[in-house]
Symmetry: C2
Subunit: 279 residues, 2 copies
DNA sequence: CGAGAGGTTGAATAAAGTCAACAAACGTGG
DNA sequence: CCACGTTTGTTGACTTTATTCAACCTCTCG
């Protein structure tokens, strides 16, 4: 049974937490719903919690929510209450500009925390759409901050997660601002590969869950350019493409494939000049 | 007397905070250095602190540091200890890629907090360079988090600041991903104007402190394209340009000047189709 | 006053977008 | 399980856009 977006934000309060004491097992099953302990959440977020015992005694469980492909976890304008931690499946976060044109911002997957861009507002400023069936842990933000106040490690962890997101957005800005289409697609493949590797999946063969259109929107390119670039890389022997399945043959080539369109030669001359001046 | 980047991180600990009790005045002068109270910091950050009295009794002062035009507040690789709140002047945050090519990420000014992208690391991942002489409040991050732990409003404020930054980066990604050169320059002018207005300065006439090169890097364009676009807007009567002084005649025109290169007509058709299907 | 950095403008080139046709995969219902 | 229509992906020809290279101008600051 899948929850709709409206009911998912309510459901948390329904349950009687007192009935469910935290034990050793990873995930609790109760009344057909899954619950995660704070321990699970921290592990998924790769939070290094030193004082495990004190924190893990917290009488706190977080509910799992499921969404079917195409469903929205949250939408623009919806009241902000929760952040969500992905445990399985793939999503996209988007905004829709004035005329239905959607802009993709990220492709969250396992261990990504989403909804954090709404913290400073009362309402969500973007929306999260499931690209496949997926499962998330719903974390009431006020509960999280309350926890952070009691446990220094937790609040520092939240800061770090937000800061990390900031850096990743910054890298995205760098990608869009300084790389041509080839470089952008290469970097997209590399970072996707890195992400899969980090989660213990194959770094060389994986299935993209998004369309060329969505990749294009994410990279600031048209779907045709994405398609062409992938074909080109395939012809160059760097990758194999079969629909949404990508096999990477030479990750190193892709990694160094970041050419800089702006002022290539001019800045080189400048750099040489500066080097000479310094010597 | 201006502080160099290396000494600026040390200087904080030198001073004897106990000598300086917080009073009513905004800024304390001691031994030729300026100090701000937590109250000042919160005001600059536009933090709505409800329980003023309890927080403001904190025996906590933050040192002002000055930098001359061209100096670096922090550099890549430098240990992360402080975040900095701008009180006057203009800066840029950048990274340098493999071959001296610099990428501009933001142009911080009064009331902006910088250095937050390094929270999740031991070291800074970008660098902040003064575009003009400027003054910042150095805030030791560990002191800030300690404060946040004691005062719910403060820790929430930190979350909000980080989240707000996240949204602004996201908007930048939108700008770079979906707008052509014209739209990017227009949006740059509009958001600069908004920022000035918000600080109480003129929204229609202001002085850009950065070069065309730096604007270009920020917007993912070449300096020539920036120059040409400004000339075009000037000829169209939307703005006046005189070196780095910009006068905006029709902010509304600039605000709506966000054309979308990708799939202009196609998505319109789709949207119409979808609307029909919904009805 | 002169050197150098920053800014503007023009002409040629390269890159990505647009439009269109086609092919392949998917999913739905008979 | 197959046939059908729909969606998604590929490729080509052409157009538009922004970059590149170069010349020239204009401020600023020793």
């Amino acid at each position: 049974m899948y929850l709709s977006q409206t009911s998912s934000t309510k459901r948390y309060n329904d349950a009687k937490l007192s009935l469910l004491k935290s034990g050793n097992s990873s995930v609790k099953l109760s009344r057909g719903k899954l619950w995660s302990t704070l321990h699970d959440v921290c592990e998924l977020l790769k939070i290094n919690v030193q004082s495990y015992s004190s924190i893990m005694n917290e009488d706190m469980l977080f509910q799992h929510v499921k969404f079917k492909s195409g469903q929205r976890v949250y939408t623009i304008g919806q009241p902000f209450e929760m952040v969500y931690l992905v445990t399985s499946g793939f999503l996209k976060t988007i905004i829709n500009d004035e005329l239905g044109n959607e802009q993709v911002f990220s492709f969250p997957m396992k261990s990504d925390l989403i909804g954090t861009d709404a913290i400073h507002m009362k309402h969500h400023v973007s929306e999260a759409v499931a690209l496949t069936d997926c499962e998330l842990i719903a974390i009431p933000f006020d509960k999280l901050t309350a926890l952070g106040r009691r446990h220094p490690n937790v609040d520092l962890a939240i800061y770090k997660i937000l800061s990390k997101e900031l850096t990743s957005k910054q890298q995205m800005i760098g990608t869009l601002g300084a790389l041509n289409s080839e470089g952008r697609v290469a970097r997209f493949l590399v970072s996707t590969s890195d992400k899969f590797a980090q989660l213990g999946y194959s770094a060389s063969t994986f299935n993209l869950r998004m369309s060329r259109q969505e990749i294009g929107s994410y990279l600031g390119l048209t779907l045709e350019t994405v398609s062409r670039t992938l074909s080109m890389m395939s012809q160059a022997g760097l990758i194999s493409v079969e629909q949404r399945t990508i096999q990477i043959h030479s990750i190193d080539a892709l990694r160094t494939m970041r050419r800089l369109p702006p002022n290539k030669t001019r800045n080189k001359a400048k750099a040489a000049e500066a080097a000479k001046a310094a010597a």
